[in-house]
């Protein structure tokens, strides 16, 4: 396998899906082309200034910073639908329109939905 697209479409906290997707992407991006795509409620992971103390979960924004070279695509229509386009986003992320997001997803050899 040469490329993988991890698709995250659930909110970052409340389940371990986002944590799992993030760790899986972080493990693979040095060996193969790995992209983490944030879609639907997954785009909440793009917000800067996350505070996870009350949830008892690790701060996922910190993990994104720790792996700054990991390619993370944020689905812009999902951001706009949730009125998040005017919020401060983590600066290591790339925003992608519908077409570019789908293109990245389709061009990957494997898509993993967590």
């Amino acid at each position: 396998m040469r490329s993988v697209f991890y698709l995250l479409d659930t909110a970052p906290y409340g389940s371990e899906k986002a944590f799992g997707a993030l760790n899986a992407a972080a493990v693979s991006f040095n060996r193969i082309s790995a992209v983490l795509g944030l879609y639907g409620d997954g785009v909440y992971l793009a917000l800067a200034g996350q505070d996870s103390k009350s949830s008892g979960m690790p701060n996922l924004a910190d993990i994104l910073y720790a792996y700054g070279e990991l390619k993370v695509l944020v689905h812009e229509p999902s951001l706009l639908e949730r009125d998040l386009f005017g919020e401060t986003l983590i600066e290591t992320l790339e925003l992608a329109d519908e077409e570019n997001f789908l293109e990245a997803l389709e061009s990957s050899e494997c898509v993993i939905l967590l």
Partner: protein, 265 residues
């Protein structure tokens, strides 16, 4: 013209998309018709992108024409200066301090080590790029506005916003020591007020180190072979002085070469 934090957020987010960056660069040569822009960047999502750029006050839309706004033009000019390092004035930079160290999760590659995140204040912003030559194995990434450096097996990333992350850290003590050294190196350069001269990048490979080792696999260094020693030398797990045969006169030139190469590890 964007000035308040909310408007600046819109500008940052508008510029976080590759198609919109292409449109902005395309407009630097002058006003364009929407047709021309569509031919250059693709037509299917063009209205969407133009709308977001307009909302961020980076462009102005006329009847079938698009032009950079005054703010958009200044934004691109500032960015160009920042990218070339012209506007990074070290003499105006203030000494930095480590304001917070948080221990994160175990490293994925080695669960006995940790990833650590810290904050550097005040943030270095665009000055970060000119600091790259201070670190032999450092490289600046324009994409994420961060300076990434490796020392031994520890990889440190400093972001323009002040966040610092470190991987493969043994404990908080080691993190604090490494962060302290980082702060001293940066503050020393700031105190001088002059950006360090760009230095030639030398990429050292284990095979190159091996070439100058005795290649006798004597085991005096505690490793099974000279090649293992070269790999551990690269990762900072051993030091050159452990190879005692290098002190023999016949290896004097090799030792000199290795000392030079080690400085770039």
């Amino acid at each position: 013209m964007p000035g308040n934090p909310n408007e600046i957020k819109l500008v940052n987010n508008a510029m976080s998309n590759a198609t919109r960056r292409k449109i902005m660069n395309f407009l630097t040569d002058g006003d364009r018709s929407t047709e021309e822009i569509g031919d250059s960047v693709g037509k299917s999502m063009l209205d969407f992108h133009l709308k977001l750029l307009q909302q961020a006050s980076l462009i102005e839309l006329g009847e079938g024409t698009v032009r950079l706004s005054e703010y958009g033009r200044n934004f691109l000019k500032d960015k160009e200066e920042k990218d070339s390092g012209k506007s990074a004035d070290l003499s105006q930079a203030k000494p930095v301090d480590i304001v917070e160290v948080r221990q994160l999760l175990p490293c994925i590659a080695d669960s006995s080590k940790f990833r650590v995140i810290a904050n550097l204040a005040p943030p270095l912003g665009g000055t970060l790029k000119v600091l790259e030559p201070l670190f032999p194995r450092g490289r600046y990434s324009d994409r994420i506005n961060a300076l990434i450096m490796q020392k031994g097996e520890i990889i440190t990333t400093i972001y323009g916003t002040g966040k610092v992350t470190m991987t493969m850290i043994k404990n908080e003590g080691e993190a604090r020591e490494a962060l302290g050294n980082l702060r001293s190196t940066i503050n020393e350069a700031i105190a001088k007020g002059v950006a360090p001269a760009p230095r030639e990048k030398v990429r050292v490979e284990p095979m190159e180190l091996y070439k100058y080792l005795p290649q006798t696999n004597c085991g005096k260094c505690g490793e099974q072979s000279c090649y293992t020693f070269a790999i551990k030398l690269m990762s900072g797990e051993t030091s050159l002085d452990k190879c005692t045969p290098l002190n023999e006169p016949k290896y004097a030139t090799n030792q000199e070469h290795l000392q030079v190469l080690s400085a770039y590890i």
